[in-house]
Structures are given as structure tokens and as C-alpha cells.
């Protein structure tokens, strides 16, 4: 029985991984900077991340839907780097694309 289940779950795992291929479009690639910035909150990594997000957002096609959270996270990083005007603009853009983000983004904007 254990062997049978092993076969079944091996097939299931394989199908999960095939199904997930290509689903990471529209997300930042610089995971190293994301981990390092999350750990130490250093300005150098913050700058790197802001640059990465900017490039990613500029690369989107005009009618391409951004990944959920993309503008929200970019907005927050801009806020942390002191660019308040663009930060607000990005957070508003997230709300337009994803109305479900409205409550937490408004809570942040009202802070």
C-alpha cells in the first residue's frame, strides 16, 4: 500500500511541477537582494530592489496585467526610499488593478 501511495504521489508531484512552470512571470528576479534587504534593511539593497521593480514595471506591455502585489510592494519600497509622491501613485495603481487590496493600502496611506 505504501508503495502504491508512493507512485501516486510521485505522479501528483510531477504534475504539480509541470503545472507550475512559467507561472512566475511578472515577479522580481533579484531574490538575493530581496533576502538581504529583508534581513538588514540596508540602503544599498533597497536601491537595488527599487531599480529592479522599476525595470520590471517598465517592461510590462500596455494591457498586460501586473502580478498581484507588484505595484504595492514597489510603492512601499519607494516610500521607504523617500519618494513619497511616486509611492502613493504606485499604491493607487495597485488598488486599480486589484480592488481587494483597497483596505490595507488605504490603511497604509492614511497612516
Amino acid at each position: 500500500m505504501k508503495y502504491i501511495l508512493r507512485i501516486f504521489f510521485f505522479c501528483a508531484v510531477a504534475s504539480f511541477f509541470f503545472a507550475s512552470c512559467g507561472s512566475q512571470k511578472n515577479v522580481i528576479k533579484n531574490q538575493t537582494a530581496a533576502v538581504n534587504y529583508a534581513r538588514d534593511h540596508r540602503q544599498t539593497e533597497l536601491k537595488e530592489l527599487v531599480k529592479e521593480y522599476r525595470t520590471l514595471i517598465r517592461s510590462l506591455d500596455k494591457d498586460e496585467k501586473p502580478a498581484p502585489g507588484l505595484y504595492a510592494e514597489y510603492g512601499l519600497l519607494l516610500f521607504r526610499s523617500g519618494d513619497l509622491k511616486n509611492a502613493e501613485k504606485m499604491l493607487q495603481t495597485e488598488m486599480q488593478h486589484y480592488p481587494e487590496s483597497k483596505t490595507y493600502i488605504e490603511a497604509f496611506l492614511n497612516k
Binding site: 508512493r6 507512485i7 510521485f10 510531477a14 531574490q31 498581484p68 502585489g69 487590496s101 490595507y104 490603511a107
Partner: protein, 265 residues
């Protein structure tokens, strides 16, 4: 040719037979199908793995390795949930929310009523709690014991629960140092960490992928509510990556999970 046909029939038969015995998602994740959470937040994972004291050998390296792996683990949880069609509060925005409010018990074990604030103030429908109980390092094989809990902020119901033991074969190079397997290099092209940390990250990311991808599809997924008849993963399981990169999953008992992480040294 005939042998292949027989073999294929046996495998297919086993597959169907095993499938019939698996619990369906509709039953296992009833609370999720009922509540239909749309916005999900991931609490900062808790890691009970002991840290080395500054006087111990390689203490700095070891502790940094765990810290980096945990951050990546958290980010990977959120990315995986995102691909399932949930609106996930991004990592750095979560960090902001957690500065102000933290779930009273970060393991999600006992927080009746406390989670409601996340629903009222931030529109969060459910919070994912992840706890790493322990990392176990044996020469060629590393294991990690993790619990996942998704809790409703509105009803405090447990929406999803799994306890998983993850096992990874650790490759060594000709000099006897820990290396990265060739089949793992693709995943790691955007990560520049030492090989020990990377091996941990690979195991954590693959476990997250397997466990969380079994959740019901979220509201923005094209197959929302079309997966109820699919098989749910066992609540207690062992997930292994062998030396060829092949994955296997077997159900384990709660007793085995608890026995290994609490008692065995």
C-alpha cells in the same frame, strides 16, 4: 512492447486505486470552500531550530544560514500562494503590518479573536502560519520538520493544516565540500548564497510548492471551485528529494512526526 503495456496498466491501476482511497479536496478543505478567502497574509515563520552560541564553531555562519533560509522560506510561501489565485499581501507590506499588529501567538495555535483585527483593519481574510520545528543534519541527508496552518481571521477556523517532514539528499564535490546538484542550478540562478544555505532554500521552496499548491484554487484562479473532486494531500507527510532530484511523498503518522522532531537527536 507487451511488457511496457502490462507495466503501464499496472501503474495506471495503482494510480486509480490509490486515487480512490485519497480524501477529496471538497472534504478536506471544506472550510476554505465555505469561506472563500480572497486576501491572504503570511505571518513571519517561527523557527525553533537551536542557534549556536557565539563561542561555538561556525556559529556566525550557521545562524546566518538559518536566518537567510527563513526569510526565503517566508517569501517563497507568499509567491506560491499568489500562483494559486489568492491576493497575497506582499512581503515588505506584510512587514509594515506586523510592525503594528502581530498575531498574539505566531504559531497560530491560540489566537481566538486576535486575528479579527487583520480582517477589520487590512481586509485580510486568512493568515498562513508556518513553524519550523527543527533542522536535522546527517551526513548525506538533511531533514526539516514544518507545520503549516491557514486560519480564518473572521471565524478563527482552521482552514488548512499540514505537518511535513522534508528530506533532501545533500551532494558533495570531489573535495568533500557540500555542492549544488546540477538539476537544482536552474532554480538558483537568482540566488547568490553559500551552498549550505542554497540546499536549505531548495528543500523549503520545493516543500512549499508541493504542500501549498494542493490548496483549493483562489478566486482569481481560472479553475476556482473546479478542483473540489481532486485528491488532497495527507495531513502528515514525508516529502523527499533523492540524489537524482526525483521527488517522492509518503503519508506518515502524527506520532512519527512528533517522535522524530521531539525525541530523536
Amino acid at each position: 512492447m507487451k511488457t511496457n503495456t502490462i507495466l503501464f496498466t499496472i501503474v495506471l491501476g495503482c494510480f486509480l486505486f490509490a486515487g480512490c482511497n485519497s480524501e477529496k479536496k471538497a472534504a478536506r478543505y471544506k472550510n476554505i470552500y465555505d469561506e472563500k478567502p480572497a486576501v491572504v497574509m503570511g505571518a513571519k515563520p517561527i523557527d525553533y531550530t537551536p542557534r549556536k552560541s557565539p563561542k561555538e564553531k561556525n556559529a556566525k555562519r550557521h545562524n546566518l544560514e538559518l536566518e537567510n533560509s527563513n526569510i526565503y522560506f517566508h517569501q517563497s510561501l507568499l509567491n506560491t500562494l499568489n500562483t494559486k489565485g489568492y491576493y497575497v499581501i506582499p512581503y515588505f507590506n506584510t512587514e509594515e503590518i506586523l510592525k503594528k499588529y502581530t498575531p498574539a501567538d505566531s504559531t497560530g495555535a491560540n489566537n481566538a479573536g486576535v486575528l479579527r483585527v487583520f480582517s477589520e483593519k487590512y481586509g485580510v481574510d486568512a493568515i498562513l502560519f508556518a513553524t519550523i520545528f527543527r533542522w536535522k543534519e546527517e551526513e548525506n541527508q538533511w531533514s526539516v520538520y514544518i507545520e503549516y496552518k491557514l486560519k480564518s481571521t473572521k471565524t478563527n477556523n482552521l482552514l488548512f493544516h499540514a505537518k511535513c517532514k522534508g528530506v533532501k539528499n545533500i551532494p558533495y564535490n570531489t573535495r568533500g565540500n557540500i555542492a549544488i546538484a546540477s538539476f537544482d542550478r536552474g532554480i538558483l540562478k537568482h540566488l547568490e548564497f553559500d551552498t549550505r544555505t542554497l540546499n536549505r532554500m531548495i528543500l523549503l521552496a520545493k516543500m512549499n510548492d508541493f504542500v501549498l499548491k494542493n490548496l483549493p484554487n483562489g478566486q482569481s484562479h481560472k479553475d476556482f471551485e473546479k478542483d473540489m473532486e481532486k485528491a488532497a494531500i495527507p495531513e502528515y507527510l514525508e516529502f523527499s528529494i533523492d540524489e537524482t532530484g526525483a521527488l517522492s511523498v509518503v503519508p506518515i503518522s502524527l506520532e512519527q512526526f512528533e517522535h522524530e522532531w521531539i525525541i530523536e537527536e
